[in-house]
């Protein structure tokens, strides 16, 4: 289960396949996910999602629960070592949804992403992200 940190409308996704790999996914790996939970933009929405004024839930959500989508891992709980010797770990696993062509579905990212995302060819996601570690 991963958190989805873009504004595509998904909140939680489940990884069903790591593409081109026999191992677990790391930061920057492309995976296939099933959307398990939708983000709700209403009165109970978290303050991080600034789309409180959106009138209809369906209009904001580009994806629905049960959709099978591609995604890129941007944060992992598992600590990983950088070439300079420092080690970085996050508190959760998170991903960003992309379409088949590799373009991010959402237009904004909320939250920090690992810097390795850019090195793996996802510089677009890195530029969307507000913070990188």
């Amino acid at each position: 289960m991963l958190n989805v940190i873009d504004n595509s409308g998904a909140a939680v996704a489940e990884c069903v396949k790591v593409l081109k790999m026999d191992r677990h996914a790391k930061i920057g790996d492309r995976i296939i996910v099933v959307i398990q939970k939708q983000r709700t933009f209403g009165p109970e929405s978290s303050p991080s999602s600034s789309k409180t004024s959106t009138s209809s839930v369906a209009a904001a959500n580009k994806v629905r629960r049960g959709d099978i989508r591609h995604a890129v891992v941007v944060r992992t709980k598992k600590k990983y070592q950088r070439p300079d010797g420092s080690v970085v770990g996050f508190e959760d696993n998170a991903c960003v949804l992309i379409n088949k062509g590799g373009e991010p579905i959402g237009t904004r990212l909320s939250g920090v992403v690992g810097r390795e995302v850019g090195g793996r060819g996802w510089s677009k996601i890195l530029s969307l992200a507000g913070l990188q570690v």
Partner: protein, 238 residues
């Protein structure tokens, strides 16, 4: 002899006498043992040993091996432990002198320093590549030698906990500054309980920002410890 005989007859006589004497001696020598030996069957063919003769000595002398030449043996190498009793510490000191010429960082983490960094302090690590990273020190790890010293910083960025290990002597680390001392000395060496939500200090961004503002505004000298303590007291009152 034939030539000299007619000239000097006495010389010839003298020689004759000498010959006679030798002949007589020879005959006596041959004849003597035959007459002296009582039990010929006990007599050996060889003369008896000299009075100082010792059989063991003789055997040793006549052994085959004594005749062989000595094989040259390579002497054992010099003992390295004697030459350099503690090479690791020498290597460590050399590395530290290269990576930390001023000794400031060594002092910041030396156990002898009462003002050293302790778990619970808030630090800013300035990097040569990338933005400075700040966080609460959860753990100070020294694996084998002081050169391996590393710190674990925890912070919250956009409400996501981030933990980063830094090697203190890494060439990538430009500087380490103490932003705020722990209000109370932590009673544990490893503050992993701070990962739990009820103990989490949350984001240290505000504290760090205040510290940076004070630092830029204040005088440039001896800013580190003083400002750090000031912010600490303020934080404690809050």
């Amino acid at each position: 002899m034939s030539l000299s005989a007619p000239v000097r007859p006495l010389a010839c006589i003298r020689q004759a006498i000498r010959q006679c004497r030798t002949e007589r001696q020879q005959t006596r020598r041959y004849a003597a043992p035959a007459t002296e030996v009582e039990y010929p069957s006990l007599q050996t063919r060889y003369p008896p040993p000299t009075p100082g003769f010792r059989p063991s000595q003789a055997i040793k002398q006549n052994r085959f091996e004594t005749g062989l030449k000595k094989i040259p043996v390579v002497p054992p190498p010099r003992s390295t432990t004697k030459a350099c009793p503690d090479p690791i510490s020498i290597l460590t000191n050399k590395q530290i002198s290269v990576l930390d010429p001023t000794g400031a960082r060594t002092r910041l983490f030396s156990p002898a320093n009462p003002e050293r960094v302790q778990p619970g302090d808030i630090l800013v690590v300035r990097l040569r590549t990338g933005d400075p990273v700040s966080g609460v020190v959860l753990n100070i790890r020294q694996r084998h030698q002081p050169i391996d010293t590393a710190i674990l910083l925890r912070n919250q960025l956009t409400r996501v906990g981030v933990e980063v290990w830094f090697k203190v002597y890494s060439p990538n680390v430009e500087g380490i500054e103490v932003v705020q001392r722990a209000v109370k000395r932590a009673r544990r060496a490893k503050l992993y309980y701070m990962r739990q939500p009820r103990h989490d200090v949350g984001s240290v961004e505000g504290v760090v920002k205040q510290y940076l503002r004070q630092r830029s505004g204040g005088p440039l000298g001896n800013r580190e410890a003083n400002t750090g303590r000031k912010t600490g007291s303020k934080k404690g009152r809050k």
